[in-house]
Structures are given as structure tokens and as C-alpha cells.
């Protein structure tokens, strides 16, 4: 029996894998020591668990365990990486390059940097959500200290050309940082091969617990340093003070280990499932995939259904937990800035749905989702005057709408 609603919002967060919970349990109960307590076995046991997690994480992204700085999640890691580099390298320059489709954790941190006197370039993206390498190259200056471009986008799944971006940044003497929140654990991410100097990621997007994440900070070629953003006991090589969240860290480690083991099988299963979902929904007229279909995370599909209003659509797909491109918090609707950056009109951005599949999504759930969405879109279009006009061949732009 299918349980409703069906959770297809795995870009927002994933459920905890029971194997991760099992690994964490002892550290929530009997092994409660502070990893910084050096003089008794309680502390040693905690430290050992943290060190083991560091190795599990390092093995997933191909770095040295010492290069992992534990944080409370990707937002903190983005803040620490960007602000920390800005402060540490202020002698060298004050220019940062990012993109308009970044997560708010990056964009708002960059806005903060601007208030501190830094200069930030926000690169536009093309219709597929990709930045232009030529524009990046042209934006580089001798004052550029950091290029920060996300690995895979949270709304569309679009994967940026990370290696080429890193190469351009390095050619101009800048560091390269990436927000790897949606990509780490889902696709192969190799900080050496990719040329990544700093990378933010989080446990709860890869079947780990909420409230824990990490910042990868390169120690060799070059040795990267960030100024701590919190004062305190000097944990994490002085870059992030605060007692370590041992159970969370153990969970992040276990989640990484499982992702590494199961990535290939998960990717194959999820991309097949995603492609089927997409193929079926695209049989609806006037439906469009948002973002690159070629360079994309395997578990994400973002589709717009023209002539259907976003909030009405969300109400129609009540048996699914999905996200829409419409952040409707008040009477004034705000369409997704990511989809707008791709060049979508407000109405197409509003009428988009984001499907994020997970390790636990079943074929039966996808079947249900396909039918449910098809029914809702069809029903709403039968009710939509815009659909009727479209069917009659009336150009909606030719109508003088009564603005309100």
C-alpha cells in the first residue's frame, strides 16, 4: 500500500538512512565524551570516532582527512569559506566572483562582503543554467582572490564545468571554492582532479543527519587558510571553534561511506527513474524541462507546465511533497530567482515543479507521481482561460491585461 503524501523533495533534505542512525546511536547515548577532552577515555573514544568519520569523508571526496573542517552545515561552510578567504587574503585583493544562480548562503554572504567594502561579480547563466567560461575569464582581475561557483544547482540540478572554472581561477592566481551541497555523495567529486580549494557540503542532503556539514580546505598546492568566523577554543585547526557534534559527525562519515559504496548503483537507478518521470510528464503539451539536460545531477527534474498557475498546481498535487518555482509567502508571488536567471518568464517560473528523487524512492511512487501530476495539470488547464486562448491560437501577449 502506497503511503501518501509521497516525498519527492530530496533536494531540500533527505531522510536519514537507518544505517546512519545505527552508527550514530552509541554517540547519542553511552559514548558521550567531548572529542577535545584529551585526558580520559571518554574524550579519546569521541576523538577516535571523529577521526574515523574524517577518513570516511576524505575517502569520498579524495582529500586528506586533516583537510575537513566540521561545521553545522553547508550554510555555515559557505559563510566560513567566503568570509574567511576575504579576511585572510585581504592583502592580496578584495574581488570575488560568483554566479546569479548560487544558493542564498553564497549570495547573501557575498552581499555582506560588499558591505564590508569587497567587490563581487555575479556572473549570469545561459538558458541551461551554465556560466560562460569566457565571461569568467573576462571578469578575472589581479584583485580577484576567490571564484565561488556551485557544483550542482539545487533547483535544476545543472552541473557547472567545475574543472574548467577551477583552471581559469588558478591561472589568475585566485582560489576556487564550490558549494558541493547537492553534488557530494550523488556524483563523483574529486577535489584533486577537480582543482577545488574549498568546498562546502552538508550531511542531510545525502541521507545523514541535519545540523552537521563540513568545509574542505586544501592544505597543499596551495595551502589555503581561512580566518575563523567564531571565536572560541580553537577547534578544527583554529578555523572553527565549538565542541564537535560527535554523533552528527559520525553520521556524516557513515553517510559518506554509504554514498561512496552505493553511488554507482544509486545513480543508475535514479537517473533511469528520473528520465521516465520526465519523459512521461513531457507528454503533456507545453511542458518544459528547466536547466541543462546534459549536465545534470541524476536525481533531479525541474519541469514547467505552461498555462497552469503555480499555487493552484501545488494544491492539485497535494499527494506529493515537491517544491515549486513559486515562493508564495504573501499576496505578491515571487518566482524563483534561479529560474528567472535562466530566462524564464514569471508565469513559467511560477508553474514549475521540482522533483528530487532519493535512494528510497520506488518505481511505484514514481508511477503514482506521474499520474497525479498529469491529472492535476489536465484538470487545471480545462479550467484555465489562458489554455483555452492558447488552443484557439490567440497570442496572450496581444491581450491588454487589466493589471492589478
Amino acid at each position: 500500500m502506497l503511503k501518501l503524501p509521497i516525498y519527492l523533495d530530496n533536494n531540500a533534505t533527505t531522510p536519514l538512512d537507518p544505517r546512519v542512525l545505527e552508527a550514530m546511536m552509541p554517540y547519542l547515548t553511552e559514548v558521550f565524551g567531548n572529542a577535545a577532552s584529551r585526558n580520559h577515555p571518554f574524550g579519546w573514544a569521541a576523538e577516535e570516532a571523529v577521526d574515523y568519520a574524517r577518513e570516511q569523508i576524505a575517502s569520498l571526496i579524495n582529500c586528506d582527512p586533516k583537510e575537513i573542517i566540521f561545521t553545522s552545515g553547508a550554510t555555515e561552510s559557505d559563510n566560513l569559506g567566503i568570509k574567511g578567504v576575504f579576511e585572510m587574503y585581504s592583502q592580496k585583493g578584495n574581488h570575488i566572483i560568483t554566479a546569479t544562480t548560487e544558493h542564498k548562503a553564497v549570495l547573501d554572504t557575498c552581499k555582506h562582503i560588499e558591505k564590508l567594502g569587497g567587490r563581487v561579480t555575479y556572473l549570469p547563466v545561459n538558458a541551461e543554467g551554465l556560466i560562460s567560461l569566457e565571461e569568467l575569464e573576462a571578469a578575472m582581475t589581479p584583485e580577484t582572490i576567490l571564484v565561488t561557483i556551485m557544483y550542482g544547482n539545487n533547483e535544476t540540478g545543472t552541473i557547472q564545468p567545475i574543472r574548467e572554472i577551477a583552471r581559469i581561477a588558478h591561472q589568475h592566481g585566485a582560489l576556487f571554492m564550490t558549494d558541493g551541497t547537492q553534488a557530494v555523495g550523488k556524483i563523483p567529486v574529486d577535489v584533486i582532479a577537480d582543482g577545488i580549494d574549498l568546498m562546502a557540503f552538508s550531511a542531510h542532503k545525502m541521507y545523514g543527519p541535519k545540523g552537521v556539514g563540513a568545509l574542505y580546505v586544501r592544505r597543499k598546492n596551495p595551502r589555503v587558510k581561512v580566518t575563523a568566523q567564531m571565536d572560541g577554543g580553537g577547534h578544527e585547526r583554529g578555523m572553527r571553534s565549538g565542541t564537535l557534534n560527535v554523533p552528527g559527525i559520525v553520521g556524516l562519515g557513515k553517510a559518506c561511506e554509504l554514498c561512496k559504496l552505493e553511488m554507482e548503483a544509486d545513480t543508475q537507478r535514479l537517473s533511469t527513474m528520473r528520465d521516465r518521470l520526465e519523459r512521461e510528464l513531457l507528454t503533456l503539451e507545453e511542458s518544459y524541462v528547466n536547466g541543462s539536460r546534459e549536465h545534470r545531477l541524476p536525481h533531479v527534474a525541474n519541469i514547467s507546465f505552461k498555462y497552469v498557475e503555480g499555487e493552484g498546481l501545488m494544491m492539485g498535487v497535494k499527494d506529493l511533497a515537491v517544491s515549486s518555482g513559486s515562493a508564495c509567502t504573501s499576496a505578491s508571488l515571487e518566482p524563483s530567482y534561479v529560474l528567472k536567471a535562466l530566462g524564464l518568464s514569471d508565469d513559467l517560473a511560477h508553474s514549475s515543479l521540482r522533483f528530487g528523487l532519493s535512494r528510497f524512492t520506488t518505481d511505484e511512487q514514481v508511477d503514482y507521481a506521474i499520474n497525479h501530476v498529469k491529472e492535476a495539470v489536465t484538470k487545471l488547464r480545462e479550467m484555465s482561460p489562458l489554455w483555452e486562448m492558447f488552443k484557439e491560437g490567440i497570442d496572450l501577449n496581444s491581450i491588454e491585461w487589466a493589471e492589478h
Partner: protein, 138 residues
């Protein structure tokens, strides 16, 4: 957002979805809202010219559940009313009936505008002067 049972009922079982022949002299059509704003309502009335009574009403709405419910409810209320009675329908009656929250009041305003706009279309078609549309709500 939590919707009231009445909104859910109208959304799930909308009354009077459809299209009337707008070329007929006794059919008035109101098209209000704009796609960019996320709501477009088209409301139509068919009037018995001898009794000045609305014999049929249809709607199509592009919008959220509250907009769909407001227009669906409006068509229910319009049927059987005289044109003058229809003109007296106030958006706050719709708000009350559907228990719309403050952020959704604009849906009821749009429904009221759609009624008035349909009546005006009918009036103009039949050689009557156009009524002034209260646009103050927006």
C-alpha cells in the same frame, strides 16, 4: 497554507466551468487579472432580456485555489439573480463564505471585478451606458 473546506470543495469540484458563446448579444464576458500577477479570471453571464435575470453563468480561472473557489462560488450566486442584484455582490461576502485569509482577499476582489466586468460587457452590447468600475481595491 491551509485552505478552508469550502475552498477545497470548490477547487476539487468546481461549479460551472465552461464557456458561453460570447458572440451572443445576451452574453456578457468579463476577463480580469493578468498572467504575470498569477490570476486571470474569465466570468460569463447569460441574461434573459425580458426579466433581466441571469439564467446561466460560467467561469474559467487561471490562479490559486482561492481564485478558483472565488469564481466558482460567484457563478453559483449569479444564477437566478437579476443583473441589479448581481451588481450588489460584494467581495467581502465571498471572503466570508470561503473563509479566505487576508493574503487571499485579492482573489475575492478579482471575482467581484469579473462580475462587474461581465455585466458591463452585457450593458455595452445592449446599448446601455457603462458603469464605473471600482478599481480602488488594487
Amino acid at each position: 497554507m491551509a485552505y478552508s473546506d469550502k475552498v477545497i470543495d470548490h477547487y476539487s469540484n468546481p461549479r460551472n466551468v465552461g464557456t458561453l458563446d460570447k458572440s451572443k448579444k445576451n452574453v456578457g464576458t468579463g476577463l480580469v487579472g493578468a498572467p504575470e500577477c498569477g490570476d486571470v479570471m474569465r466570468l460569463q453571464i447569460e441574461v434573459d432580456e425580458t426579466t433581466n435575470t441571469i439564467t446561466d453563468a460560467k467561469f474559467k480561472t487561471f490562479g490559486c485555489g482561492s481564485a478558483i473557489a472565488s469564481s466558482s462560488l460567484a457563478t453559483e450566486w449569479l444564477k437566478g439573480k437579476t443583473v441589479d442584484e448581481a451588481l450588489a455582490i460584494d467581495n467581502m461576502e465571498i471572503v466570508e463564505e470561503l473563509a479566505l485569509p487576508p493574503v487571499k482577499i485579492h482573489c475575492s476582489v478579482l471575482a467581484e471585478d469579473a462580475i462587474k466586468s461581465a455585466i458591463n460587457d452585457y450593458r455595452v452590447k445592449n446599448g446601455l451606458p457603462e458603469l464605473e468600475m471600482p478599481k480602488s481595491h488594487h
